[in-house]
Subunit: 278 residues, 2 copies
């Protein structure tokens, strides 16, 4: 399949959902809404939303039914990047080649823009059409993925990570919470809104966690300059890290074998996430 064309088409759907959920930049208070949009448009590859849509497809549902969780996960991802970049955290002045939000809008507005993006993530699920039971379950998954035992907890452990610690298990525990939990919430949430049963959701959760950790290893392979935080590449070297990412991808793909042909876009996205070279 032509993954670039597929990603572009899906990004178009997602773009409209994201845009519709955030007040226009000119809405009062103006700097806040402009700050909320700064990192969101143009965004990144929209990989998490694409995974959510592909997961709905993988369980036989139209991809559009996963748009609420796709948008919600992208909002949580964007909020976490804004807060990560703040001076008291990683203190990064740039993100995707542009000034980071606190550089462009000041620290207080960046902090609050992140806060508001986290709130809007839950709003977008709560106002969506569809089964309230599925939407509430997706909201629970997202709240857990964003919470102190997952994303935020992984962030704390990443900030305090001993640079001499080369224990792969501890490194993967940080990746699992900081990166993979949200990716799993996208995959599971997409399938949930698509009507998947519990057994499929369990499989997709394992798939999402494994792909998420492998994605983070791939990120570290691409981003050699980054000396902060924990990295499997630093701990075990490039070759062993690449091998581990491939092993995780393999496990992930085998776990969704039974979903058949309609899960092929989901598999292809996983391969792309782990093997991408840019």
């Amino acid at each position: 399949m032509d993954l670039t064309a597929y990603l572009e088409e899906r990004a178009g759907l997602v773009e409209r959902a994201l845009d519709a959920a955030i007040p226009p930049a000119c809405e009062t208070p103006e700097p806040l809404h402009a700050a909320m949009r700064h990192l969101l448009f143009p965004g990144g590859k929209r990989l998490r939303p694409a995974l959510a849509l592909a997961a709905a497809e993988a369980v036989g549902a139209p991809p559009e039914c996963a748009l609420p969780i796709a948008a919600a996960v992208e909002f949580v991802h964007t909020y976490s990047l804004i807060h990560d970049d703040l001076p008291c955290m990683d203190d990064d002045a740039e993100r995707r080649g542009r000034p980071s939000v606190h550089v462009a809008f000041g620290e207080a507005t960046a902090l609050l823009a992140g806060d508001a993006l986290l709130a809007v993530a839950f709003r977008v699920l709560a106002v969506a059409e569809g089964s309230t039971e599925r939407l509430l379950a997706a909201s629970r998954d997202l709240a857990e993925a964003a919470g102190s035992l997952e994303l935020v907890g992984g962030q704390v452990d990443d900030l305090g990570f001993d640079p001499n610690d080369v224990d792969p298990a501890r490194i993967e525990s940080v990746h699992g919470r900081k990166s993979a939990a949200l990716i799993a919430a996208a995959v599971v949430g997409g399938a949930r809104l698509g009507g998947a049963g519990d057994a499929t959701l369990v499989r997709l959760r394992c798939f999402g966690r494994a792909v998420g950790v492998a994605f983070q290893i791939a990120d570290d392979l691409l981003d050699e300059g980054d000396e902060d935080g924990c990295s499997l590449v630093k701990a075990v070297g490039r070759d062993a890290a690449r091998e581990r990412a491939e092993a995780l991808l393999d496990t992930a793909l085998r776990g969704v074998d039974t979903l058949g042909e309609r899960a092929e876009p989901l598999r292809e996205l996983a391969r792309f996430a782990v093997r991408r070279s840019e």
Copy 2:
């Protein structure tokens, strides 16, 4: 009625719900969970949760059914205080006579503890027993109250408020978003989980907004030392501000006349919120 005893009894219920929703302080990562609990226990008067429980009572439901929204609102309130106190915001080293969270745990952990409290607010609603339709609607109300058009937007406008601006309408607009929206979400959410119909919810929303603005004026009357932010007391003087708070209280109380005797605790809490002297 004996409001002190009533508040204490209700605070006991709420305390247990809050405690059950947050991992213990010794749970990994330890400083994060300790930081999340620092401002939460011991907390303040738990007025917002008490209003949620009294709103359920006011529509003929057992108060306990409002515990999920009571806890969720208290988590959002606590997160907003932690972020407000940060150096890039109000830069307050103390809160309720104790070191604020960033003084006790560092800025990064305080930021992340606030983030995690916001996420757990939505989790507590999503995992609650009961009607998924009502819980999802309460989640929507809460997300909107915490979002860029309400709490966070009011915060931005409060930070940038011109100290020479004495326009009461602009001051009340900030109070309405920064304080009253969350109080209204507590009242409306409690009634929603108690099974109230739309007409009652509309009434209670007006009640919550009016009580919330009056509560903020009362706060400013008590807190004369605070030179930051907008204050009706600074703008129109103590007597006129007190009169305005009483007028708002009166409007609020008249709006819930039709709810009869069982709404008396809700009314009594509103009187307390606006007239308290400590």
